[in-house]
């Protein structure tokens, strides 16, 4: 019997020592896809970022990342009557740092805009429209204690749109507008003309400078953008938020790709009806 025990122990030791490790986890084949991140905002020029999705392996330095940017596509935007080919320019505040922008066509409320991208023999298309913007009735900066130096923004507005809402902020060191966490709102959750009041959590960014805090510091000037957007935009930004929050969540794992309205590619082409506010939190907090 002792021999049997010894054999069993040796056998299990051998098998157990053959530990699995991270390297043993295989990866599915790399599937490059053309990524579109495009917008046309009320009163603003059309903007489109193009890239190819990157493989899941290895380290990425800036040079490597640049190889995934698409700089040689023909990008055009049309409002149904007028069409324009967008020009490429560098924008170091965005990733990828190249932006196709229009020179003539600016977003107009109520209009539908068609995007066409020609790249690598593929035709990538999408369409969107710009809903009427809705102004905020009030914005407040609230701290749980007067001695605190940080707090949250509270907004209120009248639910007059039958579309969807998205709140963005830009607070130093952020260089671009960032969608707020829980900042996407389905107007149908509320009665028409109902007064809606919400707390806003700051969105997080990685580039150019990482910022993961969800609250606002009182010594900052914040730009707040309140957008109305069509359903495809709301679904995209909702799935984007799900990805950010739950990509490592074992309970509600985010294991589905972002919703997209891009044919032949992935990403978003969305129109926004905007109202932008400048908020000096120091002054707001002192009131």
């Amino acid at each position: 019997m002792k021999k049997i025990i010894l054999i069993l122990a040796l056998f299990t030791s051998l098998v157990s020592c053959n530990k699995s490790n991270l390297d043993e986890i295989g990866w599915t084949a790399y599937e490059p896809k053309v990524v579109v991140e495009g917008s046309i905002e009320s009163g603003q020029f059309a903007s489109v970022l193009l890239s190819v999705s990157a493989p899941i392996s290895g380290k990425k330095d800036t040079a490597t990342l640049l190889t995934h940017a698409i700089r040689s596509a023909k990008v055009s935007v049309s409002d149904g009557n007028e069409s324009e080919v967008l020009l490429l320019r560098r924008n170091n505040n965005r990733m990828p740092p190249f932006e196709y922008i229009s020179q003539r066509i600016r977003g107009e409320v109520g209009k539908t805009y068609y995007l066409t991208v020609e790249y690598g023999g593929k035709i990538i298309t999408a369409e969107t429209r710009i809903p009427a913007p809705v102004p905020l009735d009030d914005v407040q900066f609230k701290k749980s204690d007067v001695r605190d130096s940080v707090g949250y923004l509270h907004i209120s507005f009248r639910n007059t749109s039958r579309d969807y809402y998205l709140v963005w902020t830009r607070a130093a060191p952020q260089k671009t507008f960032v969608p707020c966490l829980m900042g996407n709102i389905d107007g149908k959750q509320f009665a028409e003309n109902e007064n809606v009041s919400l707390q806003i959590n700051k969105g997080i960014v990685l580039y150019p400078e990482p910022d993961y805090t969800t609250y606002f510091h009182e010594n900052t000037v914040v730009q707040l953008k309140f957008s109305t957007l069509p359903r495809e935009g709301y679904e995209f930004w909702s799935s984007y938020q799900n990805e950010l929050l739950n990509f490592q969540n074992p309970i509600f794992p985010a294991n589905t790709s972002l919703k997209s309205n891009i044919h032949n590619g992935i990403g978003i082409w969305c129109g926004y009806g905007n109202v932008v506010y400048r908020l000096d939190l120091k002054n707001m907090a002192e009131k």
Partner: protein, 686 residues
């Protein structure tokens, strides 16, 4: 969305608590299993024939971690019951989903998912007598399941004298008192309690008081009670009353996002069983019962608060009459259950605004059934066991709906000799109440739903055949089974395939079809100083959903192609024994990113086909040593996961930026719950 974020934080703390708590408890309990039939000289018992009865008194002769014998985990070492990941309290049988098992405690449905992360067993083994397990060809008296039946029974024998027994472990203790009440009556009362909040958390905080400690603000508490009163009303009437109550509270206060969260869940069951002996050896068993389970998640961050409540409640009566007609033994009965369910009633308020959610509301249902079954013998070698169960289910939500089903059950057995037999079984099963399982790591966020105009009942068929043989005066036993089962209206939940932010859960359930098939093998040594068994299952569990992977077949999450367990115990002398368990199983299926890209200056992932990849194989070895001062009084030393194997419960891709170089690091990270976990416990009986 925010709710998911909170669950994520809860999950992280749960994992951290379990890992850092260094307790972890249970596992080596598995060794007990060897005892299942130890000493048995019966002819072919058909251990894996689809039916098994496991006695806790035997199981507890072998060691367990922290004094907690987990009977349900022990069953995972047998063929057909898949090895679950660490921390997972769900049971997976022959490719079925966890919500497709019927779990009974003294014949009362139990809906509780168990205690936190499976650290503590659901049932107090000191109060339990046997666990009967049916993985195929179930009796016609059981309904509302597709996969298997776990029937846990407390001790009903009237104690002859007073006694106190229990165990003291690192994280919890338990005690059971038994006493006689006169000549014909007796009672037993059991209680368990953890002292994580009382001792462990203050100790951890003392040694790791940093603000960033993962366990800052974490708390967990649970207790449970079991009570049994049994006795004779008369010579022909015996009454048994059972009660069970448990409550768990898991709390998290998080500094970075300023979130306070509490998850509470509660389970209660009460039953009264009257057994009557009628003339001509007819017996009638009647049971009235009440069972309830609820969980509530409460969270708050500044002016945002979320509350989610789910509950299920059953009030029922069932009977069964055992009698003979023309010399043929029959069993017949009727059952009625009133179900009262509240699935995921949620309230979200933000700055005094109440978000309207499309609530599903309360769902009540009348569930009535009648069954009959017989055992017909043809000579001494061949017998068949036909049965039928008719069930009527009326669901009342916004729109009432009626369902009917007539399920056939059939078993046949042919005995080739005293040491060899063949068995075959078929069963048609229908399930009207089933569980939706958002959590994969053991947090009790599951909820139960009833079939209705919105939710379809699940149906399934299973066939299996088996061959069993014993050798060398029953010292060795070999059993093999082959099975196939299919499922209609199999469900996938929480996969976020559709719009889900403001709609109720029933719009998030996807329906498809499933099938599972496989071969099971068990080789067992029944007695001697060394007792052992080798269990191996080779199987597939597949699903096909129109909305997933373009309608292509994909593996179920707990599809384990290979599942191998080796259990051995050696008794040196009455004072010393040693046990060992080794498990090796194919990794779970999961969904993996295929590429990534930037959106709004943040990396996001593009995912490959659903469940198209596998976690590393599950590999764990436990060892345990007992020293007995005297029978039922000894010290147990156990080591769970002896070889430090990191068995991930999930894998994810993390993209991080190096602030100095600006370089992005794309890493595969995996979360493991338990690595090596030594423990010591003292078991006593006075």
């Amino acid at each position: 969305m925010f709710l998911r974020h909170l669950f994520f934080i809860l999950a992280l703390f749960c994992v951290a608590a379990a890992v850092r708590g260094e307790n972890a408890v249970e596992d080596s309990v598995l060794l007990n299993e060897v005892v299942v039939n130890r000493g048995s000289r019966a002819n072919v018992s058909g251990l894996s024939s689809g039916r098994l009865s496991l006695r806790t008194d035997d199981a507890k002769m072998l060691p367990s971690l922290l004094g907690n014998t987990d009977m349900l985990k022990i069953l995972e070492l047998l063929p057909g019951i898949q090895t679950s990941t660490d921390g997972n309290t769900n049971l997976y049988v022959r490719g079925g989903d966890p919500g497709q098992n019927l779990l009974l405690y003294n014949d009362v449905p139990i809906y509780s998912p168990g205690h936190l992360a499976g650290i503590f067993p659901l049932f107090n083994a000191d109060h339990v007598s046997t666990v009967d397990f049916l993985k195929s060809g179930a009796d016609s008296r059981y309904g509302n399941f597709l996969s298997s039946v776990f029937s846990v029974n407390s001790k009903e024998a009237v104690p002859q004298k007073a006694s106190l027994k229990g165990s003291v472990g690192l994280l919890s203790s338990q005690a059971t008192a038994e006493w006689a009440m006169g000549k014909n009556w007796g009672a037993s009362l059991s209680a368990r309690k953890t002292y994580i909040n009382l001792f462990l958390m203050p100790l951890i905080h003392y040694f790791d008081s940093s603000k960033n400690s993962e366990l800052q603000g974490v708390g967990y508490d649970f207790y449970d009670f079991n009570a049994t009163v049994a006795g004779r009303l008369s010579t022909k009437n015996r009454l048994t009353i059972n009660a069970l109550y448990s409550q768990d509270v898991f709390e998290v206060a998080e500094n970075i996002t300023n979130i306070d969260a509490a998850l509470k869940w509660r389970n209660a069951a009460f039953s009264a069983k009257l057994e009557t002996t009628l003339p001509e050896n007819i017996t009638l068993e009647q049971t009235a019962f009440y069972s309830t389970y609820s969980n509530r998640l409460s969270t708050a961050q500044a002016d945002i608060s979320i509350n989610v409540l789910s509950s299920v409640e059953d009030i029922g009566y069932k009977n069964r009459l055992q009698y003979r007609l023309f010399g043929i033994p029959f069993e017949s009965g009727v059952q009625y259950v009133y179900h009262n369910l509240l699935p995921q009633k949620s309230a979200l308020t933000n700055a005094d605004m109440a978000f309207r959610r499309e609530a599903f509301g309360r769902n009540t249902a009348h569930d009535a059934a009648a069954f009959t079954a017989a055992v017909i013998r043809f000579g001494s070698k061949f017998q068949i066991e036909p049965g039928v169960r008719y069930q009527f289910f009326r669901s009342e939500t916004q729109v009432a709906d009626n369902f009917h089903s007539a399920d056939l059950r059939f078993r046949a057995q042919y005995r080739l000799s005293a040491t060899q037999l063949f068995r075959a079984g078929y069963s048609r099963n229908t399930q009207y109440i089933y569980k939706l399982t958002p959590s994969s790591v053991g947090l009790p966020t599951d909820f139960w739903v009833a079939s209705s105009a919105h939710i379809r009942p699940q149906k399934g068929n299973e066939v299996s055949i088996g061959y069993y043989r014993s050798f060398a005066d029953q010292m060795f036993e070999l059993s093999t089974d082959i099975y196939y089962r299919n499922m209609e209206n199999a469900t996938e939940y929480n996969v976020d395939f559709g719009e889900s932010k403001t709609t109720s859960f029933d719009n998030q359930i996807l329906y498809g079809e499933g099938q599972a098939y496989g071969i099971e093998l068990l080789l067992k040594k029944n007695y001697g100083k060394l007792t052992a068994w080798l269990s191996y299952s080779l199987g597939r569990s597949e699903r096909r959903f129109k909305e997933i992977n373009n309608g292509r077949v994909f593996p179920a999450k707990y599809d384990r192609t290979h599942d191998l367990s080796l259990v051995g115990a050696y008794t040196f002398n009455p004072k010393w024994d040693i046990s060992l368990v080794w498990i090796y199983a194919t990794g779970n299926a999961y969904t993996q990113p295929s590429s990534w890209y930037f959106v709004n200056n943040l990396p996001v992932r593009e995912y490959a086909a659903y469940n198209s990849m596998r976690l590393p194989a599950y590999n764990r070895t436990d060892i345990s040593v007992n020293y007995w001062f005297k029978p039922n009084n000894g010290i147990n030393l156990s080591v769970h996961n002896l070889f430090f194997v990191r068995n991930p419960i999930y894998v994810f891709m993390a993209i991080q930026k190096d602030d100095d170089s600006g370089q992005l690091n794309v890493n595969v990270k995996r979360k493991a719950l338990f690595t090596i976990l030594p423990s010591i416990s003292w078991r006593f009986k006075f």
